[in-house]
Amino acid sequence: MDDRFLEAQRRAPRGEFANALRERLTALERDAEVHPARRGRRWLAAGLAAAALAVAFTFPAVRAAAQQMLDVFRVRDFAAVQVDAARIQQLENRHLDPGSVLGGKVETVHEGGPPQRFANVDAAAAAAGFTPARPTLLPAALAPESVFVTGAATMRMTVDEAKLRSLLESLDVRDLELPPGLDQAPIEVRRPTVVVQTFAGPRHRRVALVQCASPEVSLPRGLDLARLGEIGMRVLGVAPAEAHRIATSIDWRTTLVVPVMSSATRFQQLDVNGARGLLLETTQTQVPGGPDRGPGRVLLWTHDGRVYAVMGDLESLDIVQIAQSVH
Protein backbone atom coordinates (compact mmCIF):
# COMPACT_ATOMS: atom_id res chain seq x y z
CA MET A 1 0.00 0.00 0.00
CA ASP A 2 1.61 3.23 -1.14
CA ASP A 3 0.68 5.77 1.49
CA ARG A 4 3.65 8.09 1.13
CA PHE A 5 1.43 10.82 -0.31
CA LEU A 6 -0.36 10.98 3.06
CA GLU A 7 2.77 10.80 5.16
CA ALA A 8 4.14 13.66 3.10
CA GLN A 9 1.27 15.86 4.27
CA ARG A 10 2.64 16.21 7.78
CA ARG A 11 3.94 19.67 8.49
CA ALA A 12 6.07 21.05 11.29
CA PRO A 13 4.10 23.55 13.40
CA ARG A 14 5.10 27.16 12.95
CA GLY A 15 7.97 28.00 15.29
CA GLU A 16 6.21 31.13 16.45
CA PHE A 17 3.13 29.15 17.40
CA ALA A 18 5.16 26.40 19.10
CA ASN A 19 7.11 28.90 21.19
CA ALA A 20 4.04 30.92 22.15
CA LEU A 21 2.17 27.83 23.27
CA ARG A 22 5.14 26.57 25.26
CA GLU A 23 5.33 29.94 27.00
CA ARG A 24 1.65 29.75 27.89
CA LEU A 25 2.17 26.28 29.31
CA THR A 26 5.13 27.51 31.33
CA ALA A 27 2.91 30.26 32.69
CA LEU A 28 0.39 27.62 33.70
CA GLU A 29 3.13 25.82 35.62
CA ARG A 30 4.16 29.01 37.37
CA ASP A 31 0.54 29.68 38.23
CA ALA A 32 0.28 26.25 39.81
CA GLU A 33 3.43 26.83 41.83
CA VAL A 34 2.28 30.08 43.38
CA HIS A 35 -1.04 28.63 44.54
CA PRO A 36 -0.34 26.33 47.47
CA ALA A 37 -3.55 24.36 47.10
CA ARG A 38 -2.86 23.66 43.47
CA ARG A 39 0.76 22.98 44.22
CA GLY A 40 -0.21 20.42 46.80
CA ARG A 41 -2.59 18.81 44.41
CA ARG A 42 0.05 18.70 41.70
CA TRP A 43 2.54 17.13 44.04
CA LEU A 44 0.14 14.63 45.33
CA ALA A 45 -1.45 13.78 42.07
CA ALA A 46 1.88 12.26 41.22
CA GLY A 47 0.92 9.43 43.48
CA LEU A 48 -2.46 7.97 44.01
CA ALA A 49 -3.47 9.35 47.28
CA ALA A 50 -5.39 6.73 48.97
CA ALA A 51 -2.68 4.34 48.04
CA ALA A 52 -0.01 6.69 49.18
CA LEU A 53 -1.97 7.02 52.38
CA ALA A 54 -1.69 3.33 52.89
CA VAL A 55 1.93 3.44 51.83
CA ALA A 56 2.66 6.35 54.08
CA PHE A 57 1.06 4.73 57.05
CA THR A 58 2.88 1.52 56.50
CA PHE A 59 6.44 2.64 56.21
CA PRO A 60 8.29 0.43 58.60
CA ALA A 61 11.04 0.32 61.11
CA VAL A 62 10.85 2.73 63.93
CA ARG A 63 14.10 4.38 64.82
CA ALA A 64 14.96 6.75 67.58
CA ALA A 65 13.65 9.97 66.16
CA ALA A 66 15.65 13.11 66.38
CA GLN A 67 12.48 15.15 66.47
CA GLN A 68 10.64 15.19 69.74
CA MET A 69 7.17 13.71 69.62
CA LEU A 70 7.76 12.07 66.28
CA ASP A 71 8.25 8.48 65.28
CA VAL A 72 10.09 7.92 62.03
CA PHE A 73 9.49 4.87 59.90
CA ARG A 74 11.73 3.36 57.29
CA VAL A 75 11.35 0.59 54.77
CA ARG A 76 12.97 -2.73 55.64
CA ASP A 77 10.56 -5.32 54.34
CA PHE A 78 7.69 -5.57 51.86
CA ALA A 79 4.31 -7.23 51.85
CA ALA A 80 1.89 -7.16 48.94
CA VAL A 81 -1.81 -6.59 49.48
CA GLN A 82 -4.17 -7.06 46.57
CA VAL A 83 -6.49 -4.10 46.29
CA ASP A 84 -9.70 -3.52 44.39
CA ALA A 85 -9.06 -2.01 40.95
CA ALA A 86 -12.64 -0.71 40.82
CA ARG A 87 -12.12 1.11 44.12
CA ILE A 88 -8.88 2.64 42.85
CA GLN A 89 -10.73 3.87 39.79
CA GLN A 90 -13.48 5.20 42.03
CA LEU A 91 -10.93 7.14 44.08
CA GLU A 92 -9.25 8.45 40.96
CA ASN A 93 -12.58 9.54 39.53
CA ARG A 94 -13.14 11.50 42.69
CA HIS A 95 -9.70 13.06 42.29
CA LEU A 96 -8.70 11.86 45.70
CA ASP A 97 -5.08 12.24 46.61
CA PRO A 98 -3.33 11.81 49.97
CA GLY A 99 -4.22 15.33 50.97
CA SER A 100 -7.88 14.99 50.23
CA VAL A 101 -8.02 11.55 51.79
CA LEU A 102 -6.52 12.87 54.98
CA GLY A 103 -8.69 15.90 54.62
CA GLY A 104 -6.10 18.36 55.77
CA LYS A 105 -3.50 20.75 54.48
CA VAL A 106 -0.77 19.54 52.15
CA GLU A 107 2.48 21.33 51.65
CA THR A 108 5.42 20.59 49.42
CA VAL A 109 8.41 21.36 51.56
CA HIS A 110 10.94 20.53 48.94
CA GLU A 111 10.64 19.44 45.32
CA GLY A 112 13.16 16.98 44.01
CA GLY A 113 13.45 18.67 40.64
CA PRO A 114 13.67 16.92 37.30
CA PRO A 115 15.91 13.89 36.88
CA GLN A 116 19.43 14.56 35.73
CA ARG A 117 20.97 12.24 33.20
CA PHE A 118 24.54 11.01 33.54
CA ALA A 119 26.78 9.05 31.24
CA ASN A 120 27.58 6.39 33.82
CA VAL A 121 27.22 5.42 37.47
CA ASP A 122 30.50 7.00 38.51
CA ALA A 123 29.43 10.33 37.08
CA ALA A 124 26.06 10.04 38.86
CA ALA A 125 27.57 9.24 42.26
CA ALA A 126 28.43 12.83 43.12
CA ALA A 127 24.90 14.03 42.38
CA ALA A 128 23.41 11.08 44.25
CA GLY A 129 25.51 11.62 47.36
CA PHE A 130 26.30 7.93 47.56
CA THR A 131 27.96 5.30 45.43
CA PRO A 132 25.17 3.49 43.63
CA ALA A 133 25.31 -0.28 43.65
CA ARG A 134 25.35 -1.89 40.23
CA PRO A 135 24.59 -5.31 38.86
CA THR A 136 27.54 -7.53 38.05
CA LEU A 137 25.39 -9.88 35.98
CA LEU A 138 23.37 -8.73 33.00
CA PRO A 139 21.55 -11.52 31.17
CA ALA A 140 19.90 -11.32 27.77
CA ALA A 141 22.84 -9.34 26.30
CA LEU A 142 21.77 -6.26 28.24
CA ALA A 143 24.17 -3.33 28.34
CA PRO A 144 24.17 -0.14 30.42
CA GLU A 145 22.12 2.57 28.75
CA SER A 146 21.75 5.58 31.02
CA VAL A 147 21.73 6.75 34.63
CA PHE A 148 19.29 9.23 36.13
CA VAL A 149 19.46 10.95 39.49
CA THR A 150 16.45 12.70 41.02
CA GLY A 151 16.89 14.85 44.10
CA ALA A 152 15.21 14.29 47.44
CA ALA A 153 11.71 15.62 48.03
CA THR A 154 9.65 16.30 51.13
CA MET A 155 5.90 16.65 51.58
CA ARG A 156 4.06 17.60 54.75
CA MET A 157 0.38 17.06 55.51
CA THR A 158 -1.96 17.42 58.43
CA VAL A 159 -4.97 15.25 59.08
CA ASP A 160 -8.53 16.55 59.17
CA GLU A 161 -10.33 13.86 61.12
CA ALA A 162 -13.81 15.06 60.20
CA LYS A 163 -13.08 14.91 56.48
CA LEU A 164 -11.43 11.54 56.79
CA ARG A 165 -14.46 10.25 58.66
CA SER A 166 -16.70 11.64 55.95
CA LEU A 167 -14.65 9.87 53.28
CA LEU A 168 -14.93 6.56 55.10
CA GLU A 169 -18.69 6.97 55.37
CA SER A 170 -18.95 7.78 51.67
CA LEU A 171 -17.10 4.52 50.98
CA ASP A 172 -19.40 2.72 53.38
CA VAL A 173 -16.57 1.95 55.79
CA ARG A 174 -18.46 2.43 59.06
CA ASP A 175 -17.14 -0.26 61.32
CA LEU A 176 -13.71 1.22 62.10
CA GLU A 177 -12.96 3.83 64.72
CA LEU A 178 -10.29 6.38 63.90
CA PRO A 179 -7.31 6.17 66.26
CA PRO A 180 -7.19 8.82 68.98
CA GLY A 181 -4.93 11.80 68.42
CA LEU A 182 -5.31 11.72 64.66
CA ASP A 183 -6.94 15.11 64.14
CA GLN A 184 -4.43 17.72 62.95
CA ALA A 185 -1.65 15.17 63.27
CA PRO A 186 1.34 16.25 61.19
CA ILE A 187 2.74 13.74 58.73
CA GLU A 188 5.94 14.30 56.83
CA VAL A 189 7.04 12.10 53.94
CA ARG A 190 10.64 12.33 52.79
CA ARG A 191 11.69 10.70 49.57
CA PRO A 192 15.48 10.51 49.33
CA THR A 193 17.59 10.99 46.24
CA VAL A 194 16.86 8.22 43.75
CA VAL A 195 19.24 6.70 41.22
CA VAL A 196 17.91 4.79 38.24
CA GLN A 197 20.16 2.78 35.93
CA THR A 198 18.62 1.56 32.72
CA PHE A 199 19.90 -1.28 30.57
CA ALA A 200 18.97 -2.09 27.00
CA GLY A 201 19.29 -5.25 24.99
CA PRO A 202 18.26 -6.88 21.74
CA ARG A 203 14.61 -6.93 20.73
CA HIS A 204 14.04 -3.67 22.60
CA ARG A 205 14.50 -5.33 25.97
CA ARG A 206 14.91 -2.79 28.73
CA VAL A 207 15.54 -3.22 32.43
CA ALA A 208 15.90 -0.64 35.19
CA LEU A 209 17.56 -0.80 38.58
CA VAL A 210 16.12 1.76 41.00
CA GLN A 211 17.78 2.47 44.33
CA CYS A 212 17.54 4.98 47.13
CA ALA A 213 17.83 5.23 50.87
CA SER A 214 14.61 4.28 52.56
CA PRO A 215 11.83 6.82 52.20
CA GLU A 216 10.87 8.09 55.63
CA VAL A 217 7.56 9.02 57.15
CA SER A 218 7.34 10.95 60.39
CA LEU A 219 4.17 10.58 62.44
CA PRO A 220 3.13 11.73 65.89
CA ARG A 221 4.40 9.27 68.45
CA GLY A 222 1.88 6.77 69.69
CA LEU A 223 -0.47 6.71 66.72
CA ASP A 224 -2.10 3.32 66.28
CA LEU A 225 -0.44 2.31 63.03
CA ALA A 226 -2.15 -1.04 62.74
CA ARG A 227 -5.53 0.64 62.79
CA LEU A 228 -4.38 3.30 60.37
CA GLY A 229 -3.10 0.59 58.08
CA GLU A 230 -6.39 -1.24 58.33
CA ILE A 231 -8.23 1.95 57.47
CA GLY A 232 -5.89 2.52 54.52
CA MET A 233 -6.56 -0.97 53.23
CA ARG A 234 -10.30 -0.55 53.59
CA VAL A 235 -10.12 2.73 51.65
CA LEU A 236 -8.39 0.76 48.92
CA GLY A 237 -11.20 -1.76 48.86
CA VAL A 238 -9.64 -4.65 50.77
CA ALA A 239 -12.38 -6.81 52.31
CA PRO A 240 -12.97 -6.13 56.04
CA ALA A 241 -11.86 -9.54 57.29
CA GLU A 242 -8.76 -9.57 55.10
CA ALA A 243 -7.80 -6.01 56.06
CA HIS A 244 -8.15 -6.89 59.74
CA ARG A 245 -6.18 -10.11 59.33
CA ILE A 246 -3.31 -8.31 57.60
CA ALA A 247 -3.39 -5.38 59.98
CA THR A 248 -3.07 -7.63 63.00
CA SER A 249 -0.54 -10.04 61.56
CA ILE A 250 2.23 -7.94 60.04
CA ASP A 251 4.84 -5.95 61.89
CA TRP A 252 3.99 -2.39 61.02
CA ARG A 253 7.33 -1.15 62.25
CA THR A 254 9.30 -3.14 59.72
CA THR A 255 7.03 -3.78 56.79
CA LEU A 256 6.03 -1.62 53.85
CA VAL A 257 2.66 -2.72 52.59
CA VAL A 258 2.57 -2.48 48.81
CA PRO A 259 -0.96 -2.16 47.47
CA VAL A 260 -1.07 -4.25 44.32
CA MET A 261 -3.84 -4.03 41.78
CA SER A 262 -5.24 -6.98 39.95
CA SER A 263 -3.11 -6.13 36.92
CA ALA A 264 -0.28 -7.73 38.85
CA THR A 265 -1.02 -11.26 37.84
CA ARG A 266 1.10 -12.81 40.59
CA PHE A 267 3.25 -11.82 43.49
CA GLN A 268 5.53 -13.82 45.74
CA GLN A 269 8.13 -13.31 48.40
CA LEU A 270 11.61 -14.62 47.75
CA ASP A 271 15.14 -14.30 49.04
CA VAL A 272 17.51 -11.68 47.62
CA ASN A 273 20.95 -12.05 49.16
CA GLY A 274 19.48 -12.89 52.53
CA ALA A 275 16.79 -10.21 52.43
CA ARG A 276 13.16 -10.90 51.75
CA GLY A 277 12.14 -9.52 48.38
CA LEU A 278 8.77 -9.09 46.77
CA LEU A 279 8.42 -10.19 43.15
CA LEU A 280 5.45 -8.86 41.19
CA GLU A 281 4.59 -10.34 37.84
CA THR A 282 2.58 -7.83 35.89
CA THR A 283 0.56 -7.93 32.74
CA GLN A 284 2.66 -5.05 31.50
CA THR A 285 5.70 -3.38 32.93
CA GLN A 286 7.04 -0.02 31.93
CA VAL A 287 10.69 0.67 32.46
CA PRO A 288 11.42 4.30 33.38
CA GLY A 289 11.63 6.36 30.25
CA GLY A 290 10.44 3.54 28.05
CA PRO A 291 7.20 2.95 26.18
CA ASP A 292 4.51 0.51 27.22
CA ARG A 293 5.99 -2.91 27.55
CA GLY A 294 4.67 -6.42 27.51
CA PRO A 295 4.41 -8.72 30.50
CA GLY A 296 7.12 -7.96 32.99
CA ARG A 297 8.36 -8.28 36.51
CA VAL A 298 9.28 -6.01 39.37
CA LEU A 299 11.42 -7.18 42.27
CA LEU A 300 11.62 -5.03 45.41
CA TRP A 301 14.01 -5.59 48.27
CA THR A 302 16.09 -3.73 50.83
CA HIS A 303 19.72 -4.08 51.81
CA ASP A 304 21.80 -2.09 54.27
CA GLY A 305 19.13 0.56 54.63
CA ARG A 306 18.71 1.04 50.91
CA VAL A 307 15.62 0.19 48.88
CA TYR A 308 16.07 -1.48 45.51
CA ALA A 309 13.81 -2.37 42.61
CA VAL A 310 14.65 -4.20 39.41
CA MET A 311 11.98 -4.02 36.74
CA GLY A 312 11.79 -5.10 33.15
CA ASP A 313 10.34 -7.39 30.57
CA LEU A 314 12.57 -10.35 31.37
CA GLU A 315 11.74 -13.71 32.85
CA SER A 316 11.53 -13.90 36.64
CA LEU A 317 14.77 -15.86 36.84
CA ASP A 318 16.65 -13.15 34.94
CA ILE A 319 15.21 -10.43 37.15
CA VAL A 320 16.19 -12.35 40.28
CA GLN A 321 19.69 -13.02 38.94
CA ILE A 322 20.19 -9.32 38.26
CA ALA A 323 18.98 -8.49 41.76
CA GLN A 324 21.24 -11.11 43.34
CA SER A 325 24.23 -9.59 41.54
CA VAL A 326 23.66 -6.01 42.72
CA HIS A 327 26.57 -4.90 44.89
Partner: protein
Amino acid sequence: MAMEQVIPGWRWLSPAREQDWDALYAEQMPRVYNFLRFRVGNDTVAEDLTSIVFEKAWRARSRYRRDLAAFGTWLFAIARNVATDHFRQRREHAPLAAAAGVASGATPEELAERRSDGERLARLLAPLPARERELVALKYGAGLTNRAIARLTGLGESNVGTILHRVVVQLRAEWGERS
Protein backbone atom coordinates in the same frame (compact mmCIF):
# COMPACT_ATOMS: atom_id res chain seq x y z
CA MET B 1 0.06 -0.10 31.51
CA ALA B 2 2.39 1.67 33.84
CA MET B 3 3.66 0.66 37.23
CA GLU B 4 1.26 3.11 38.81
CA GLN B 5 -1.54 0.84 37.66
CA VAL B 6 0.11 -2.08 39.37
CA ILE B 7 1.37 -0.42 42.51
CA PRO B 8 -0.62 2.66 43.47
CA GLY B 9 1.68 5.38 44.71
CA TRP B 10 4.53 4.11 42.58
CA ARG B 11 4.90 7.36 40.73
CA TRP B 12 5.56 9.24 43.90
CA LEU B 13 8.10 6.75 45.10
CA SER B 14 9.70 6.32 41.70
CA PRO B 15 10.83 9.69 40.43
CA ALA B 16 12.86 8.04 37.71
CA ARG B 17 9.73 8.29 35.66
CA GLU B 18 9.60 12.02 35.98
CA GLN B 19 9.22 13.40 32.54
CA ASP B 20 11.27 15.90 30.75
CA TRP B 21 8.32 18.06 29.84
CA ASP B 22 10.21 20.08 27.28
CA ALA B 23 11.18 16.92 25.46
CA LEU B 24 7.66 15.62 25.75
CA TYR B 25 6.27 18.86 24.35
CA ALA B 26 8.75 18.81 21.48
CA GLU B 27 7.80 15.24 20.66
CA GLN B 28 4.06 15.33 21.11
CA MET B 29 3.01 18.80 20.05
CA PRO B 30 3.75 18.28 16.32
CA ARG B 31 1.89 14.98 16.43
CA VAL B 32 -1.18 16.49 18.06
CA TYR B 33 -1.02 19.46 15.69
CA ASN B 34 -0.87 17.24 12.64
CA PHE B 35 -3.62 15.01 13.94
CA LEU B 36 -5.81 18.11 14.19
CA ARG B 37 -4.67 19.41 10.78
CA PHE B 38 -5.81 16.17 9.24
CA ARG B 39 -9.04 16.27 11.22
CA VAL B 40 -10.10 19.86 10.57
CA GLY B 41 -8.20 20.63 7.37
CA ASN B 42 -7.20 24.11 8.42
CA ASP B 43 -3.81 25.09 9.80
CA THR B 44 -5.06 28.01 11.84
CA VAL B 45 -7.89 26.06 13.42
CA ALA B 46 -5.47 23.20 14.08
CA GLU B 47 -3.21 25.59 15.99
CA ASP B 48 -6.12 26.84 18.07
CA LEU B 49 -7.27 23.33 18.88
CA THR B 50 -3.71 22.20 19.65
CA SER B 51 -3.48 25.01 22.19
CA ILE B 52 -6.70 23.85 23.80
CA VAL B 53 -5.47 20.27 23.99
CA PHE B 54 -2.17 21.14 25.63
CA GLU B 55 -3.62 23.67 28.03
CA LYS B 56 -6.11 21.06 29.21
CA ALA B 57 -3.45 18.42 29.49
CA TRP B 58 -0.90 20.65 31.19
CA ARG B 59 -3.26 21.55 34.01
CA ALA B 60 -3.34 17.93 35.08
CA ARG B 61 0.04 16.78 33.87
CA SER B 62 1.30 16.05 37.38
CA ARG B 63 -0.82 12.94 37.29
CA TYR B 64 1.45 11.73 34.53
CA ARG B 65 4.76 13.17 35.61
CA ARG B 66 6.37 9.76 35.63
CA ASP B 67 4.43 8.13 32.90
CA LEU B 68 5.19 9.41 29.44
CA ALA B 69 3.34 6.65 27.61
CA ALA B 70 0.17 7.24 29.56
CA PHE B 71 0.45 10.98 29.05
CA GLY B 72 0.84 10.56 25.29
CA THR B 73 -2.22 8.34 25.12
CA TRP B 74 -4.12 10.77 27.27
CA LEU B 75 -3.14 13.69 25.02
CA PHE B 76 -4.72 12.01 22.03
CA ALA B 77 -7.82 11.16 24.00
CA ILE B 78 -8.16 14.87 24.75
CA ALA B 79 -7.36 15.79 21.14
CA ARG B 80 -10.10 13.50 19.86
CA ASN B 81 -12.61 15.10 22.21
CA VAL B 82 -11.48 18.60 21.30
CA ALA B 83 -11.91 17.80 17.60
CA THR B 84 -15.35 16.33 18.23
CA ASP B 85 -16.37 19.43 20.20
CA HIS B 86 -15.07 21.60 17.37
CA PHE B 87 -17.23 19.86 14.80
CA ARG B 88 -20.23 19.88 17.11
CA GLN B 89 -19.93 23.65 17.66
CA ARG B 90 -19.41 24.22 13.97
CA ARG B 91 -22.59 22.34 13.20
CA GLU B 92 -24.45 24.37 15.80
CA HIS B 93 -23.12 27.76 14.77
CA ALA B 94 -22.08 27.60 11.15
CA PRO B 95 -23.59 24.65 9.37
CA LEU B 96 -22.81 25.98 5.92
CA ALA B 97 -19.11 26.02 6.70
CA ALA B 98 -19.02 22.30 7.18
CA ALA B 99 -17.57 21.30 3.85
CA ALA B 100 -14.25 23.02 4.21
CA GLY B 101 -12.79 24.04 0.91
CA VAL B 102 -15.10 21.98 -1.28
CA ALA B 103 -17.59 24.60 -2.36
CA SER B 104 -17.88 25.09 -6.06
CA GLY B 105 -17.68 28.44 -7.81
CA ALA B 106 -14.66 29.56 -5.89
CA THR B 107 -13.15 32.96 -6.47
CA PRO B 108 -9.64 33.27 -7.93
CA GLU B 109 -8.38 34.11 -4.46
CA GLU B 110 -9.97 31.02 -3.08
CA LEU B 111 -8.58 28.94 -5.87
CA ALA B 112 -5.12 30.29 -5.11
CA GLU B 113 -5.61 29.48 -1.45
CA ARG B 114 -6.62 25.98 -2.34
CA ARG B 115 -3.24 25.42 -3.83
CA SER B 116 -1.85 25.32 -0.34
CA ASP B 117 -1.10 21.95 1.10
CA GLY B 118 -3.61 22.36 3.87
CA GLU B 119 -6.46 23.08 1.54
CA ARG B 120 -5.55 20.26 -0.74
CA LEU B 121 -5.47 17.90 2.19
CA ALA B 122 -8.78 19.26 3.43
CA ARG B 123 -10.43 18.75 0.08
CA LEU B 124 -9.11 15.23 -0.10
CA LEU B 125 -10.29 14.24 3.37
CA ALA B 126 -13.52 16.25 3.61
CA PRO B 127 -15.75 13.62 1.93
CA LEU B 128 -14.62 10.87 4.29
CA PRO B 129 -16.96 9.75 7.06
CA ALA B 130 -15.87 10.97 10.49
CA ARG B 131 -14.53 7.62 11.66
CA GLU B 132 -12.38 7.08 8.58
CA ARG B 133 -11.09 10.60 8.67
CA GLU B 134 -10.15 10.24 12.30
CA LEU B 135 -8.29 7.00 11.61
CA VAL B 136 -6.37 8.67 8.79
CA ALA B 137 -5.57 11.60 11.09
CA LEU B 138 -4.33 9.30 13.83
CA LYS B 139 -2.25 7.23 11.42
CA TYR B 140 -0.80 9.86 9.11
CA GLY B 141 -1.19 13.04 11.11
CA ALA B 142 -0.18 11.77 14.54
CA GLY B 143 1.96 8.95 13.21
CA LEU B 144 0.45 6.36 15.56
CA THR B 145 0.72 2.63 15.00
CA ASN B 146 -2.38 0.59 14.21
CA ARG B 147 -2.10 -0.94 17.67
CA ALA B 148 -2.06 2.46 19.37
CA ILE B 149 -5.00 3.57 17.24
CA ALA B 150 -6.90 0.44 18.18
CA ARG B 151 -6.30 1.14 21.86
CA LEU B 152 -7.49 4.72 21.50
CA THR B 153 -10.57 4.04 19.43
CA GLY B 154 -11.67 0.71 20.81
CA LEU B 155 -11.54 -0.87 17.35
CA GLY B 156 -9.67 -4.10 16.75
CA GLU B 157 -6.14 -3.71 15.42
CA SER B 158 -6.90 -5.74 12.30
CA ASN B 159 -10.06 -3.73 11.79
CA VAL B 160 -8.03 -0.52 11.92
CA GLY B 161 -5.65 -1.93 9.33
CA THR B 162 -8.47 -3.03 7.04
CA ILE B 163 -10.28 0.30 7.18
CA LEU B 164 -7.09 2.27 6.63
CA HIS B 165 -6.09 0.12 3.68
CA ARG B 166 -9.43 0.67 2.00
CA VAL B 167 -9.42 4.40 2.67
CA VAL B 168 -5.84 4.92 1.54
CA VAL B 169 -6.48 3.11 -1.74
CA GLN B 170 -9.49 5.35 -2.31
CA LEU B 171 -7.60 8.50 -1.35
CA ARG B 172 -4.60 7.64 -3.48
CA ALA B 173 -6.80 7.34 -6.53
CA GLU B 174 -8.39 10.71 -5.80
CA TRP B 175 -5.02 12.26 -5.04
CA GLY B 176 -3.75 11.13 -8.42
CA GLU B 177 -6.76 12.56 -10.18
CA ARG B 178 -6.35 15.92 -8.48
CA SER B 179 -2.61 16.15 -9.17
